[in-house]
């Protein structure tokens, strides 16, 4: 029984950092799951190197996972960690600068060998000199403690050493009063085929937990109460999984089969993985030979009547541009998902960025308008995917969905919707009754309201027709090169996409709805950081409000009005100011950009500072 003090805290940010081989992503994910089940609100930020195993012990090989959890609603993975778990000297070197002054360091003392210290450019051992005087340091011999505990396990010393991350996890579970049950269950499931490994990991986990409980070093444990959130059933979800779910839901609500054509790429592959597992849902995943085949197969599947999607990241989107134009010309429903990463070229595969906005909106030959929707949090990826599919069907158009590495790999609790409450998506395929007096099918005769064309699918008797990438004659869809017809079709396609804006809910202003001194306007994954920054500034009495774009193209019809209500406008972006350029093309208002382009999301404090600077 512990007699140690329990301190109640509101919000904690922990960063797990270690070598790529130390299992930090897994450790972080387990802490996340447990914390989620315990009812805290949370957000995560994995941050790992592009190399699967960069040389052990080096700065380049450090892999980290940050988790922010609290007893109130939160919107970001936290600015700077309160706790840093450093499994080796390199991890400490890379992440120490982010740790809050006075923060806790939990280090694996056994990894601080001379060799590792040298690899990480430490002149002397920071656990032993005064480098960490400003922090609360717990230097624990994790490797040794698990070795002792597993002495008689019969496992190799290498296998034993591998369990040290479970020791660290156990210790943190103790510190933050979390139950080990779900992790034990998970380990037993994961190592079903190697029960001795499962057992060793459980022992290491418990050893860590008991170490906290029994040794004198730790005097306090912390309690983070359940968060006050909307009642309902929750699960922890990453953005990539949420996108997969969103499409399965959209297919189901539309009565369609789901087809994914995709080529693996970081950080989008998890969507392919998630959907590939869902064969019993009738999901057809096609791992194509390249990104072009990924989208081309999806276009074929769409022509034949499936809900067709293709998923990728920036380099893959570049390869798909010609085919997106084909989908624009053939006016077929299709969703293209871009989980953005740092560019240009191969860039920063595992890091986040918002620099594909222009590519998404304009990156095609010819006038090829495509609606672009942006997800704003991991759980929101579900709604964004569902909405993208709905609009693609309704307007017979490709839709581009922008997510990014931060959302795709990050997670948060998702309030599980009741499937019965999801809207039905109406999809119609014409039959012979659509034929005109002469018995001819007109594939480009449009709906008056949406300008969508009918979607006749192969297998339907009497509606045999041909479509393709050549310019179409209005109504008949026959190949046509007439100057005025081309101009008319360009305008029709343009007008159709403009009408997508009629679908949007009114743009929400949080803060001063009537307007005021400053509006912070963003899109996509900056939502959380902007929200927190604006809330903090408002608490201090600043006149600042937030608006966030769900659709970045076409822009909402009410946006001009909203901009006019504010004296100043701040547009933070994880790029060199792409949205702000587009806004400037459309609106006369003066606007200020705030760019950060380091492969990392904004910290709320960075936006907050800018707010103070602008409001004086």
């Amino acid at each position: 029984m512990t007699t140690k003090a329990i301190k109640r805290v509101d919000e904690i940010t922990i960063r797990f950092a270690g070598d790529s081989g130390d299992g930090m992503q897994l450790t972080g994910t387990r802490f996340t799951e447990t914390t989620a089940i315990q009812g805290n609100d949370l957000r995560t930020l994995p941050n790992y190197p592009a190399e699967i195993r960069a040389p052990a012990g080096t700065l380049a090989g450090v892999s980290a996972f940050q988790l922010n959890f609290s007893s109130h609603a939160i919107y970001t993975p936290g600015d700077s960690p309160d706790v840093l778990v450093a499994m080796n000297p390199a991890a400490l070197k890379v992440h120490l600068k982010d740790l809050k002054r006075g923060g806790v360091i939990l280090a694996n003392a056994n990894a601080f060998t001379e060799r590792n210290l040298k690899l990480a450019n430490w002149d002397s051992n920071p656990l032993e000199d005064n480098t960490l005087d400003d922090y609360v340091l717990y230097s624990v011999e994790m490797t040794k403690l698990v070795s002792n505990a597993l002495e008689d396990s019969g496992l190799s010393s290498k296998d034993i050493e591998r369990t040290k991350n479970m020791f660290a996890l156990g210790l943190l579970f103790w510190m933050y009063n979390r139950s080990m049950d779900s992790t034990i269950k998970w380990l037993e499931e994961k190592f079903k085929k190697a029960p001795e490994i499962a057992k060793a990991n459980v022992v290491a986990l418990k050893t860590g937990y008991n170490y906290g409980d029994t040794t004198e070093i730790f005097t306090t444990t912390y309690r983070v109460d359940k968060a006050e959130v909307e009642p309902g059933r929750y699960k922890s979800i990453t953005g990539n999984d949420a996108i997969a779910y969103g499409f399965v839901a959209a297919a189901s609500q539309a009565g369609k089969e789901l087809f994914l054509g995709s080529y693996p790429i970081t950080p989008a592959s998890e969507i392919l993985h998630a959907l590939s597992a869902l064969r019993n849902f009738g999901v057809k995943t096609f791992q194509a030979e390249d990104e072009i085949a990924g989208i081309a197969s999806a276009i074929g599947a769409s022509f034949a009547g499936d809900l067709a999607i293709t998923t990728t990241s920036g380099p893959g989107l570049a390869l798909k541009s010609e085919a997106i134009g084909l989908a624009v010309m053939t006016e077929l429903p299709l969703v293209i998902v871009n989980v953005q990463r740092g560019g240009p070229s191969t860039g920063l595969p595992t890091k986040t960025e918002q620099a594909d906005l222009m590519q998404a909106i304009y990156g095609r030959n010819g006038e090829a308008p495509v609606p672009v929707i942006a997800a704003q949090s991991p759980a929101d990826c579900f709604d964004a995917a569902f909405e993208a599919a709905r609009v693609a069907f309704k307007y017979m158009t490709p839709v581009l969905l922008l997510s990014d590495g931060y959302l795709g790999l990050g997670s948060e609790p998702w309030r599980i919707p009741n499937p019965k409450d999801l809207p039905k998506i109406e999809v119609k395929h014409p039959d012979k009754s659509i034929l005109d007096e002469d018995g001819v099918y007109m594939p480009y005769r449009r709906d008056d309201k949406t300008l969508a064309r009918p979607w006749a699918i192969p297998g339907t008797p009497g509606l045999e027709h041909r479509i393709g990438g050549l310019e179409k004659e209005d109504v008949t869809g026959n190949v046509n090169y007439e100057p005025l017809n081309h101009e008319k079709m360009i305008h029709l396609r343009d007008e159709k996409i403009k009408r997508v804006a009629n679908e949007y809910a009114p743009t929400q202003i949080s803060g001063n709805k009537a307007g005021g001194k400053l509006l912070v306007l963003g899109w996509g994954s900056t939502y959380g950081a902007i929200h927190v920054a604006v809330e903090r500034a408002r608490e201090k009495g600043y006149d600042v409000s937030q608006a966030h774009l769900r659709w970045v193209f076409p822009l909402p019809n009410d946006l001009g009005e909203i901009l006019d209500k504010f004296e100043q406008i701040l547009v933070p972006e994880v790029n060199l100011g792409q949205l702000i350029k587009i806004l400037r093309m459309n609106f006369p208002n003066e606007m200020t950009g705030l760019d950060k382009i380091q492969g990392q999301p904004f910290k709320a404090s960075e936006i907050e500072e800018k707010i103070y600077e602008m409001l004086g």
Binding site: G282, A301, A304, G459, L463
Partner: protein, 339 residues
């Protein structure tokens, strides 16, 4: 798949002729391929509405516009990928891919080898005119070394490959060859192609009268064809010549052309076996060698699982094993908690 009990009304060639005016150059070999396709389809047991013709870009790729079926004129090189999506979305469809030597083997080479490898149940016709027709006469990956074209005025230094050999290397399960001027031979291979389960690859030698006229003269000219073309048939001896007076034997480890007579008779010379990869490869090598006749007909036909069948079997199996997925089971899988 293609087996349908009855076509209520007997279809005719006309049912497959669309209202679009055909716009190939007069005398282009493409006309013949179109006509043969329209002649063959009415006799095959597939409903008209279940045909889909998918093409890329090139003169040849205009083909779908002239067929009164569902058709999709894609982008350059991507037809195999588009067609794969069509077939996977709806396995009931009978999907044909129309491509050219540039479309299918230059820009679309990657898609071509992978569709063949996967053995998706599609039928591919390669219109090989050994030239880029639509872009007005540049050499293609099948143009002969030294060939003078607009982009090779000094003669091409770009060594060609043999598409059927590429198909063989890509593990194609069905490889056949025809030529535009031979209606009967082409109709035979088109019919066999559709009936084959898996990806059928049919190369058709096609004359481009404008930019590469006479490329296949030795086998298209009625006078020289008998001596230069070898029509192979499964189980039949490999004979050719105006009076079938010549045959192929294996001499040691090499094929050799022999005169039939007392020593060599149709009984003791080489017989075609479309399931034997060694024979297929030998025929493919003969295509490149001027001392042998060019083989036509079905060079290879073997059974192998198709991607589309495997995928749909897997879906059915998964449904049986785990039960048909519902949104409830999906959403509530894994750890959840109540607030």
């Amino acid at each position: 798949m293609s087996e349908v009990k009855t076509n209520e009304i007997k279809l005719t060639r006309k049912d497959f002729v669309s209202s679009s005016e055909v716009r190939w150059c007069p005398g282009c070999g493409d006309y013949a391929i179109l006509a043969n396709m329209q002649r063959v389809l009415p006799d095959l047991a597939t409903k008209k509405e279940n045909y889909v013709f998918v093409s890329g870009i090139g003169c040849s790729s205009r083909f779908p516009y002239y067929m009164d079926t569902y058709g999709f004129h894609g982008i350059h090189g991507r037809a195999p990928a588009i067609a794969s999506g069509v077939k996977l979305a709806n396995p009931e469809l009978e999907v044909w891919v129309i491509t050219g030597d540039g479309d299918g083997f230059s820009i679309g080479g990657n898609h071509m080898i992978h569709v063949l490898r996967r053995n998706i149940d599609l039928n591919i016709i390669l219109f090989n005119n050994r030239i880029y027709g639509l872009t007005k006469g540049q050499y293609s990956p099948t143009s002969q070394l030294g060939m003078k074209t607009k982009s090779s005025p000094w003669g091409s230094v770009d060594r060609p490959f043999n598409p059927a050999s590429v198909a063989f290397g890509a593990e194609a399960t069905f490889i056949a060859r025809g030529i535009d001027v031979d209606a009967k031979g082409m109709q035979d291979v088109l019919t066999r192609a559709q009936k084959h389960k898996g990806t059928s690859f049919v190369e058709v030698y096609q004359n481009c009268i404008i930019f590469n006229d006479g490329e296949f003269e030795d086998v298209s000219n009625k006078k020289t064809r008998p001596d230069n073309a070898l029509y192979v048939e499964h189980g039949k001896p490999m004979v050719f010549g105006k009076d079938n007076e010549k045959g192929i034997i294996i001499d040691g480890s090499h094929p050799r052309v022999v005169d039939l007579g007392e020593k060599y008779t149709p009984e003791n010379i080489l017989h075609h076996d479309e399931t034997n990869p060694i024979i297929t490869n030998m025929l493919l090598q003969m295509s490149l060698d001027a001392s042998f006749p060019t083989p036509f007909g079905v060079l290879r036909a073997v059974d192998a699982p198709t991607y589309d069948d495997l995928l749909h079997e897997q879906i059915n199996q998964a449904k049986k094993q785990r039960g048909e997925g519902t949104l409830d089971t999906l959403f509530y899988s894994g750890d959840t908690w109540e607030v």
